[in-house]
């Protein structure tokens, strides 16, 4: 395994993780409607990144898996949504929301740095296919970061001053 395949593998794992985490957060915060809907949408970006990384992996002789199946933990998903609805009138889940948004942000930041590494390696090795992949996907990772940052900025004042 060389550095490029190592980065592909790491990034693939990171995007898989982020896709799963976004869906989980969407379910856990079913009653925070904007978080629920946008996180669900943003998970689709990471799923697409996973798929495209797997294709790139195949071209570089690495076998990487498919995106996580969004319906695989249906029972857990329902439980998470029901739990969210059960505490709809409580302020405390706000703290959990801030923690989740922070973790999403950090996960996206890790991916962003790995996209940066992949793009640099692609340039150094004149791999135009990989460079195109990184150029196409990295901006979306940055947008995921910007979104989590915006949500934290907007929600934190009320959540942290009302407890």
């Amino acid at each position: 395994m060389n550095g490029i395949t190592l980065t592909l593998r790491t990034l693939h794992r990171g995007e898989r993780h982020l896709a799963h985490h976004l869906v989980t957060v969407a379910e856990r915060h079913r009653t925070e409607h904007e978080v629920h809907h946008v996180a669900t949408d943003l998970a689709l970006w990471s799923r697409e990144h996973v798929r495209r990384l797997a294709e790139a992996g195949a071209e570089h002789g690495v076998k990487l898996g498919d995106p996580p199946d969004p319906s695989s933990d249906g029972v857990l998903a329902t439980l998470r949504e029901k739990a969210s609805e059960a505490v709809v009138h409580r302020p405390e889940p706000g703290l959990l929301l801030l923690r989740d948004l922070r973790e999403l942000h950090v996960a996206a930041a890790e991916n962003s740095l790995h996209w940066e590494m992949l793009a640099q390696a692609a340039q150094a090795s004149k791999d135009s296919g990989l460079l195109a992949l990184a150029s196409s996907c990295h901006p979306r990772t940055l947008r995921q970061m910007r979104w989590t940052n915006t949500m934290i900025k907007h929600l934190a004042p009320q959540i942290l001053t009302s407890l």
């Binding site: 009653t31 925070e32 409607h33 904007e34 809907h37 946008v38 669900t40 949408d41 943003l42 709809v88 009138h89 409580r90 302020p91 889940p93 706000g94 947008r143 995921q144 910007r146 979104w147 940052n149 915006t150 900025k153 907007h154 004042p157 009320q158 959540i159 001053t161 009302s162």
Partner: protein
């Protein structure tokens, strides 16, 4: 000459044809109460309509201290004397016997009458206690698009600098926040670019999700008059219903709900592919063309046809229509604003105009519309989730300037985050961090999405709700304190319509009982709270409408919505004037951006913009690098499928909307007999194909259900798009046994029982046009028709099955010959 006409049966009245580039001729519409002769009118008092966003100028007829009728003002360029059905008949609701005449407070679970001192002391005491115990973030205000400018501005000052809360928004969030956001995204700043006068010159008028015939009926009269004249305009209509606009359209597209971005990207694709673009304009006035061109490069009509379920050939025809004309006017309304990807879609209409260079010239204009009469004032006064005067909350210099105007420290005005939008305010109330909500002039228990949730929020014991309204609305019935307000014709104030025309609307009669103008209520509260500026003087220095208007002028000075050249005296003398009106433009400004893009520079812009798909905010440094010279921004967006799609359980798409005879939740129009009789109850529209397939027919009682709730209505079979159901959103429960909501004997009646809590992440406008629903037959029709009007988009597909909607003698109006205006000022601003 008098020409009697039933304006329920003929909502748009008779024609006065005129040709392209000519001035729209006047036609004066008058309605006087039964038995009142024109000679009996003692005074005509200047006003403008508050039952839609058109800003129809009108005079109120007064006899013996009562309103007895209305007359259009022929001197005003907005309507040239014409009035729509709501203008003609809606005023009668003022005298409804169930007006609130005394304050109410909740005692032992019941609302009981009290005096003003008791009610206001209670509100002030709760405010002070919450400020002390929980801080300003525990208090929120939810206002409307139906008060006057002076009232919004006063509310803004007391909420943002008095209480110091970030939680002030209007129900304009539901009607016009996407218009404002789309303008901010493209032009860096709010402000309607075009003018209604552009309709006089346009060759092609493209209406995106805008049923102008019913929402701004007087502008539809203007278009109808042009159809009868020389060189009439051609229309592009994008609407899933068979509206009057669709009937008249050269090209009508009825796309699947939630696919506007796909359709618009295909129109942009064709425009660029054919080279129907103005390269000089793009180079001089825009940034971002290459990114836009790249984004739409694959968005062929064939691609969009698949997504939108519209023939590719029709999309090509539409693109040719808007792509090859020399004078294009586009208008956008709820079919875009209340649908999926609202801001992203509205911005693509801006993009179409920018790449075609169709801006700032007569007949080449853009109208991002409003729904409500004074929504523009909610926006500019800072009561709509913005800072006053289109100031930028992220720009410290703007906040400092605002603090200077108010004579407070900048830290007094919360600006650590954007002003909280309504959906989030209600969420804070739901989770318990917001403990007092003051609702003025709006009825969220009917107009917000997912009403069972709304009722559960508003009925919480821990939430102290104050409702200020004319009637005991569904929302007022859930309140802790109800304040009786005066309305149009009973108070004086200024209002600004969708094309920036400012009108004065004067007091004609006394309000009923102890009801007070909203301005007086806010001023009373400010006095009781003893809000102070930084030098210890009173924060609010005005005591009536005219002094409030003068205060607002100081706040608007030098901003895009500059009012400094206006005064009550000038508005009395000249009828409507379009802002900005200042020393340089003493007679107002017909069009913005006639000489380049003026408010997009990083130092002056209202917003640094957002990500069109996620809503994430951009920071100043990013904006400065993308748009250093302050040009218009061509922002591209990818199509994303709607969040809720039909499935086996909920096989239909459901959209909600309006009819010409009602406004909002019918608080006024349901109390005007002619309007109420024209559309007395909720109905459900279905396509002929779906009705045949399911064996359903006119008048069948059906239930429309979604994952959130259900409503019942009688079916109307129309030419609506297959697979789509339509329900009007006006109907609630105040005139049923249920009172504030469905009950054991009151089935669901409000469309919003079914709608989803989901909003555009950019404009935060809720989605009312994309829900999945099931349809169930409850009971075969008994021969009675559905209560849907036959005169409009709800007309039955088959002729002769339903008696035509008519108003009879009670709806007969007079048409008067235009009279010479004494001031000789007919044309408005150039």
């Amino acid at each position: 000459m008098e020409d009697a006409a039933d304006r329920i049966a003929h909502p748009w009245g008779p024609r006065v044809p005129y040709g392209r580039h000519e001035t729209w001729p006047a036609r004066v519409d008058t309605f006087l109460a039964d038995g009142v002769e024109p000679g009996a009118v003692q005074r005509w008092v200047q006003a403008a309509s508050i039952l839609h966003s058109d800003g129809d100028a009108m005079d109120i007829a007064v006899a013996d201290g009562r309103m007895v009728g209305v007359r259009g003002r022929d001197v005003d360029r907005v309507n040239r004397g014409r009035l729509g059905p709501k203008d003609l008949f809606g005023w009668q609701a003022n005298a409804s016997r169930d007006r609130l005449t005394r304050p109410l407070v909740r005692r032992n679970g019941q609302l009981v009458e009290t005096d003003w001192d008791t009610a206001m002391d209670l509100v002030a005491a709760r405010s002070r206690a919450l400020l002390e115990e929980r801080g300003p973030g525990s208090i929120g205000f939810y206002t409307t698009g139906q008060l006057f400018l002076e009232e919004y501005y006063t509310l803004t000052v007391l909420a943002r600098a008095g209480i110091g809360t970030n939680h002030l928004d209007g129900n304009t969030r539901l009607c016009t926040s996407t218009a404002a956001e789309a303008l901010k995204e493209t032009f860096g700043c709010d402000g309607q670019p075009g003018s209604y006068d552009d309709f006089d010159h346009a060759d092609v008028i493209a209406l995106f999700g805008h049923n102008i015939a019913e929402t701004q009926p007087v502008q539809w009269m203007r278009l109808l008059d042009r159809f009868e004249g020389a060189d009439p305009p051609r229309l592009l209509c994008v609407d899933p219903r068979p509206t009057r606009v669709a009937e008249r359209a050269a090209v009508h597209l009825a796309p699947r709900s939630g696919t506007n971005v796909a359709l618009l990207n295909a129109l942009l694709h064709e425009t660029i592919r054919h080279g129907w673009i103005d390269r000089d304009f793009i180079a001089a006035h825009t940034v971002g063309f290459d990114e836009l061109a790249a984004r739409v490069a694959d968005c062929t009509p064939r691609w969009a046809a698949e997504i939108c379920d519209v023939p590719a050939a029709r999309i090509e025809e539409a693109a040719e229509l808007v792509g090859t004309t020399d004078q294009l006017v586009s208008t956008v309304l709820q079919g875009v604003y209340q649908s999926h990807q609202a801001t992203a879609a509205a911005v693509q209409v801006n993009n179409l105009h920018l790449i075609r260079g169709m801006l700032g010239r007569p007949g080449a204009g853009l109208l991002q519309m409003n729904g409500q009469p004074t929504a523009q004032n909610t926006r500019e006064c800072g009561a709509n989730g913005d800072l006053p005067g289109f100031r930028n909350w992220q720009n410290d210099a703007h906040v400092a300037d605002l603090a200077r105007v108010w004579n407070v420290e900048p830290e007094t005005v919360p600006h650590f985050a954007p002003p909280t939008h309504a959906m989030q305010i209600f969420r804070y109330a739901e989770q318990g961090s917001l403990r007092m909500l003051w609702i003025s002039g709006t009825n969220p228990a009917v107009s917000m999405p997912e009403l069972s949730r709304m009722r559960s929020i508003l009925s919480q014991d821990r939430l102290f709700t104050v409702v200020q309204d004319l009637y005991l609305t569904e929302t007022a019935q859930l309140a802790d304190v109800v304040l009786p307000a005066a309305t149009w014709g009973e108070k004086t104030g200024a209002l600004t319509n969708a094309d920036r025309t400012v009108h004065l609307s004067e007091k004609a009669v006394e309000p009923p009982g102890e009801a007070r103008p909203d301005l007086d209520i806010f001023l009373d509260y400010a006095r009781r709270m003893d809000f102070r500026d930084k030098d210890g003087g009173p924060l609010i220095t005005w005591d009536g409408p005219e002094s409030a208007f003068e205060a607002w002028k100081r706040c608007s000075a030098g901003r895009p919505c500059d009012y400094t050249g206006l005064s009550y005296a000038l508005l009395r003398d000249t009828s409507g004037i379009q802002w900005p009106c200042d020393e340089r433009n003493p007679r107002g400004t017909a069009r913005l951006y006639t000489d380049g893009i003026s408010w997009a520079h990083p130092d002056v812009c209202e917003s640094y913009g957002k990500d069109l798909e996620t809503g994430a905010s951009q920071e100043a440094v990013e904006y400065r690098s993308l748009n250093p010279d302050g040009r218009a921004m061509l922002k591209a967006a990818a199509y994303r499928p709607p969040h809720e799609e039909p499935d086996e359980q909920y096989p239909f798409q459901l959209t909600t909307g309006r009819t010409i005879y009602h406004f909002h939740t019918r608080t006024k129009t349901g109390r005007a007999p002619q309007l109420n009789d024209a559309a007395p109850d909720v109905w459900v529209e279905i396509s002929t194909g779906d009705a045949e397939r399911l064996g359903l027919g006119e008048g069948d009682l059906v239930e429309v259900g979604s994952r959130r709730g259900a409503l019942r209505g009688r079916l109307r079979v129309t030419g609506i798009r297959a697979g789509l159901l339509f329900v009007p959103f006006h109907y609630g429960y105040w005139d049923t046994g249920g009172g504030s909501g469905p009950g054991p004997d009151t089935p669901g009646r409000a469309a919003n029982e079914t709608t989803v809590t989901d909003w555009d992440p950019v404009s935060k406008q809720p989605l009312f046009k994309t829900a999945a629903a099931a349809l169930t037959l409850l009971e075969r029709g008994d021969g009675r028709p559905s209560p849907a009007p036959t005169t409009t988009a709800s007309a039955p597909a088959a002729a002769g099955v339903v008696p035509p909607t008519s108003g009879g003698p009670a709806a007969h109006t007079m048409r008067q010959e235009p009279t010479q205006f004494p001031h000789g000022h007919e044309e408005g601003a150039r």
